[in-house]
Point group: D2
Chain length 169, copies 4
């Protein structure tokens, strides 16, 4: 007997408007506007059902409940989902420190997967931290932790800081 | 005016049956059965609309067309999507070399993002390669390339090879 | 005129005896014996003039004064020297947590170089920390800091934990 | 009985003159001048007894014979020595592609240690390759191989490319 098919429907908003605002606002204002619902949540977060926290404490947190549509072929959450949430936490935590007109791009991402993640784990939260930020390069880290404090994954990321020409925006 | 909402519906199959077969088949037979449609495609590939190629040439390739639901807030494909396809290409290329009863787990993943990816890029393909595989540890790499041969991202990954007790499966 | 030649002479002890003791002692006892001078300091530390601290507080620290013989062709301490001290701090901090008969091997090392290091920097100290240690894999990190608290480099490392057969030692 | 002390004396030349020439020459000319003996070999290579090959084929190779003064406390070549030679091979291979007035700095280095290295291994050679080089960021890789073709270590490195103001040199 063939296994039952599962189905999911999700929605997202045109990301073009948020891309424009990312150039005009400081990182903190941009992220606050996403948390407030004034700027559309990035589509990838809707696709993977990841929630973004409010930037009120400096660092930005992201969280998700592991679900079957996150799974790899051996019944665990795919490492790419874990990489996505950790990358988001690191990038946005850095972004929150940058003034308007300054952007960043992730140059490299390194993730260590410490424990298998499945539906049984419940809510998992990624918390980013800036280790060091210079004029051109920043180093960030993030951890994915469970409600019990266990660390499921750890990541570091190198970002390139880019001063954009606002007159073109 | 609020931007128009976009909507997408996708389906996947219960991953429990594929997890059981992953223990019973050699890696190559398991991946061939996924390519043939005899074993369900992993849910994460349906979620992100990534296609898996046939393992006929040893290395396993994965490909995708960048779409808006892959996007980060600044109008580009999120690095997590790129990490997912590269991780899949590396893991499955290693898996294809392992006999029945031997599994693996990804210990760490390192991705360098070399070019921004957007809808304009068209089909992108991830191709894995095993750099070295020992009795306990394997090192793999993968590249994400466009139809024009440009490299959009490069990754390496360390995997732990695990001999499973088949009598328990 | 050719630049003046510089010369340095250093000594070390046969590492064979310390390798044997590494199998017989707990990691903490082994490192304490090196700090006390009962077991020979590893040759590489004599070669690079790196000092090892006492393991009294759990984490093991290493320190060095940048010197000209550490330099790359552009007048800075070579990244390999920084990698060596960070790798030592991470490996020994992990080793200090392992019982007799249990060893480890470094699978991969990732270093971010945050500030150029030269003779002007004075004493630099590498401090390791175990992020997580399981039955087979451990993840560690280390920082290289100056007397002023500035971070010159940051590293993470994945180690494989190996139970050795003591009857063969 | 205490183990016999070993002693080694080595020399190097003032690195200040090579640092100045690094700004004035193209990378290829600079490396050719080091290979020819016209510019002093970097001190760290003398310290670790690593040899630099001629850049005649584009990629720069470095080689060394494992020696006891490279050892860690458990009787193997320390991973930091392996990191040093791989970092050198990657950095110089990139440097050889850069025009006069353009320098680089290593942002991050990632090394996978694949086989233990000891005196028994004989000559080992590190060969670098540029995976991709853009206007600001380059990604490189290198392998450490034995005379028998076995791969002992693999590395990748991200470099920041820096245009220097030659009028200040």
């Amino acid at each position: 007997m063939k296994p039952l098919q599962r189905e999911r429907t999700f929605t997202w908003e045109d990301p073009a408007s948020s891309a424009t605002k990312a150039l005009q606002l400081s990182g903190l204002d941009f992220l606050q506007a996403i948390a407030n619902g004034e700027i559309a949540v990035p589509p990838i977060l809707k696709t993977l059902d990841i929630s973004v926290g409010s930037p009120q404490n400096g660092g930005i947190t992201f969280s998700f409940y592991p679900q079957e549509f996150h799974y790899n072929p051996i019944g665990m959450v795919h490492g790419g989902v874990i990489s996505t949430i950790l990358d988001s936490a690191m990038g946005c935590t850095l972004h929150a420190t940058l003034p308007a007109g300054t952007g960043y791009t992730t140059v490299e991402l390194k993730v260590n997967f410490l424990k298998a993640v499945s539906i049984k784990n419940g809510l998992l939260t990624a918390t980013g931290r800036v280790i060091q930020s210079g004029s051109r390069i920043a180093l960030t880290e993030a951890q994915l932790t469970g409600a019990d404090g266990a660390i499921y994954a750890h990541a570091t990321s190198t970002c390139l800081i880019i001063k954009r020409d606002l007159s073109l925006a």
